[in-house]
């Protein structure tokens, strides 16, 4: 009895000071998010979701208060790094949540290596290279990467729709290549043929020439653009009176596009897309998250359901909170314990359980959806199918995947994968 008492006292003595010290200072999260440019609206939803996750945790984790600072970027890598520096050097944040877009992610991977005693949890950037090529020890990604998001869609359009010849129009930057790669690998393995590929600069507003160049004799056109670019494309596509089937990349039929005002988006009706979420996913985790989101914000200040960008930032914040809880708010020793906890503990998310691989990259589920009218004059994505356990290497061995090469304008080679 006495021994236990002494042990307890000793234990208390050991933990107390650190506990007391930990209580003193709040843990600061820096939210690095694009609030300008094509993804501004999605970025704003990211901020809302960080707030939601923190509210649900009562702005507390591991016995310490949690504060957050928002740093706006404009989807360019140099702004992202500049803002990240500002977060760490001036605001003194412990953990960065972000960034949002692909090239920013790669820049932040490199930046992460210069601040090894901080933690960066990816917001929603989807470039494959971020966690595949020379990954940083303190950069964690709990969302699937852009190529994983494309997986499953190719098989779906070949088998369910019977579309085997497609032309593609995609954004000419890393996410565009990566998301396209996921679709193309799958599509070509299922026997599809890519007739022609067009790459358009991010932020293009006039696609008339490209639309005219699209070949006539294809079953469908794959569109890998997003945000404002997607709306411009659809608007001009309507105006030329073109009527080929469309296949959407992950950001083509996101909430950002579906909630835009005007009728351009109506060209999307019937378009299959794939991505890390389905807004009408019947699973309980997802449904309760959506309810929480809808209750947390008034209807005119949010999307009808959380956007892809929003979910990404929500899950990243959950990961941060779980990690901090796991280590009891102890960020000493260069946050080594937090890094360990983040890489090993599976995370329950609204999209199912996510586990990180050796590159600190998530494996998880991809959802196939189709755009339908919601009966109230708007559009929504209807859940069609779910592909589980999509790995970073799309079901190949890491060596096979490496041999295929990194996503680029000409990669993957469709013929080499069995396509026509």
């Amino acid at each position: 009895m006495r021994k236990t008492l002494i042990a307890a006292a000793a234990a208390a003595a050991v933990t107390l000071p650190s506990g007391a010290m930990a209580q003193d200072e709040p843990i600061k999260l820096g939210v690095l998010v694009a609030l300008e440019g094509a993804f501004a609206e999605g970025g704003a939803d990211g901020v809302r979701n960080v707030e939601l996750a923190l509210q649900q945790a009562g702005f507390e984790a591991g016995g310490r208060q949690i504060e957050y600072v928002v740093a706006p970027s404009d989807t360019t890598p140099d702004t992202a790094v500049r803002q990240a520096r500002k977060l760490i050097e001036q605001d003194g944040v412990d953990i960065i949540i972000g960034p949002l877009s692909g090239s920013e992610g790669i820049a932040m991977r490199d930046y992460a290596k210069t601040v090894p005693d901080k933690t960066i949890i990816n917001g929603i950037s989807g470039a494959l290279e971020t966690t595949w090529v020379d990954p940083a020890e303190n950069f964690f990604r709990f969302n699937l990467d852009g190529s994983q998001w494309g997986a499953g869609l190719g098989t779906y359009v070949v088998e369910e729709k019977g579309w085997t010849r497609v032309a593609t129009v995609a954004a000419d930057y890393s996410f565009g290549y990566t998301n396209f790669l996921g679709f193309a690998v799958d599509f070509c393995r299922a026997g599809g043929e890519i007739v022609e590929r067009f790459w358009v600069p991010l932020g293009s507003s006039d696609f008339g020439g490209v639309i005219a160049s699209l070949p006539d004799d294809v079953d469908a056109i794959y569109l890998g653009v997003g945000g404002t670019d997607a709306i411009n494309f659809l608007n001009q596509y309507n105006q030329t009176g073109a009527e080929t089937n469309l296949i959407g990349g992950t950001i083509m039929a996101d909430q950002t596009v579906l909630t835009s005002r005007g009728r351009a988006k109506e060209a999307l009706i019937g378009t299959p897309t794939s991505g890390p979420l389905a807004t009408d996913d019947p699973s309980e985790a997802w449904q309760s998250y959506v309810t929480a989101y809808q209750e947390a914000f008034p209807e005119d200040e949010r999307f009808p359901t959380p956007s892809l960008f929003g979910v990404g930032y929500y899950i990243a914040t959950l990961a941060a909170l779980q990690g901090i809880n796991e280590v009891g708010g102890d960020l000493s020793d260069g946050q080594a314990a937090l890094h360990e906890a983040l890489s090993t503990t599976p995370l329950d998310t609204p999209l199912g359980t996510v586990e990180l691989n050796e590159n600190r990259q998530a494996s998880g589920s991809v959802f196939i959806t189709e755009v339908v009218e919601d009966g109230e004059g708007g559009l929504r994505n209807e859940f069609k199918a779910r592909v589980d356990n999509v790995t970073q290497t799309l079901g190949m061995t890491p060596d096979e995947f490496r041999a295929m090469g990194l996503p680029s304008r000409d990669n993957p080679d469709c013929a080499a994968l069995g396509g026509g």
Binding site: S213, N235, Q239, G241
Partner: protein, 336 residues
């Protein structure tokens, strides 16, 4: 024109040749060898028309900008905000009344009124202080952009063209021949042709007003020497107001057009400000024909670039601008 030809015979020949080649490549049927080297004619034609119609939009935005600069030496960096504001108001009007055409007069009046207030209440107080005016317009553009974001939010808006302009129309230009020998005519979005037509009408109307009316005479005199004009008894403030109001209203109407064939969202204001700046730098500050040529060149460069060299298309615009600044700093039609 004749003066230009006699002064620059070599340049005239070169310009004439370029125009002739362009016209020939648009109207003449392409041989198979040509289609092999340059791709299908349909693609080329669409890129050219895309460039011309995009140029029409740029012209509408930039002509007001260049007119204001020419007369008042005021670089109005809030011009893009007027464009975006016009687009949003146009969206509301056309959505509520169901009439696309009605949006134009409403937007013109509202945005022109805002322009009058700006000129009368803000710029008049700092006349002749160019740097201060420029700084104030930057400030205004930031403030207006935030107000627009507050009212209309960050989502994208597209304005729906009326039924009689939706879909494509057939132009009397041969785009190719089917294997059966049948001739295929170019099909092109009707709304863009309407915009091109409107821009040409506006351009000629401006030219007419500037060159054939008393008001135009005053404006031209003001561009040349506003002190002398004021000294000769003209109430130059009224001329300033008219020009500023007109330029602002034109930018607002361009916003409706931009919202119809592209889209409206935060950030479009700076994009169009930049486009107008490039257009007037290339065309020559203060010159309406210069703005027309500058807009055409930039529009064509963007569209042909996007189709034939997508990787570098972003650069072309600025290469043209750099070349003009290096060899003809006053702009193609500007006066040194």
């Amino acid at each position: 024109m004749t003066a230009f030809v006699s002064r620059h015979p070599v340049w005239s020949v070169i310009i004439g040749l370029v125009v002739a080649v362009l016209l020939w490549s648009i109207f003449a049927p392409w041989s198979e060898a040509m289609e092999e080297t340059f791709g299908r004619k349909r693609i080329f034609l669409n890129a050219v028309f895309g460039g011309v119609t995009l140029g029409a939009l740029y012209f509408l935005v930039a002509s007001g900008f260049t007119l204001i600069f020419g007369l008042m030496r005021n670089v109005n960096l809030a011009h893009g905000s007027l464009y975006l504001l016009g687009g949003y108001i146009g969206f509301e009007v056309s959505e509520r009344t169901g009439s696309w055409l009605l949006a134009f007069p409403v937007v013109f009046i509202v945005v022109a009124a805002l322009g009058l207030i700006l000129q009368n209440q803000v710029f008049r107080r700092m006349e002749g202080e160019e740097l201060r005016q420029t700084m104030v317009t930057i400030g205004l553009s930031v403030v207006i952009a935030d107000i627009l974001l507050w009212i209309w939010g960050g989502q994208s808006y597209t304005i729906f063209a009326p039924d009689w302009l939706s879909g494509p129309m057939t132009l009397p230009i041969v785009s190719g021949t089917r294997s059966s020998g049948e001739i295929v005519f170019l099909r092109y979005p009707a709304v863009r042709m309407a915009i091109l037509f409107a821009a040409i009408v506006v351009g000629f109307a401006m030219w007419f007003v500037l060159n054939r009316t008393k008001l135009g005479m005053l404006v031209r005199a003001g561009v040349d020497d506003r002190e002398m004009l004021a000294a000769s008894g003209v109430r130059i403030q009224y001329v300033f107001l008219a020009v500023f109001g007109f330029g602002a209203g034109l930018a607002g109407m361009a916003g409706i057009i931009g919202g119809t064939f592209q889209s409206l969202s935060p950030g479009e204001d700076t994009r169009f400000l930049l486009a107008s700046l490039v257009v007037v730098i290339v065309g020559g500050m203060g010159s309406i024909p210069g703005a027309a040529i500058g807009a055409l060149v930039i529009g064509l460069a963007e569209q042909l670039g996007l189709v034939y060299a997508p990787t570098y298309s972003v650069v072309f615009t600025f290469l043209i601008m750099a070349a003009v600044l290096a060899f003809r700093p006053q702009g193609l039609l500007g006066r040194s």
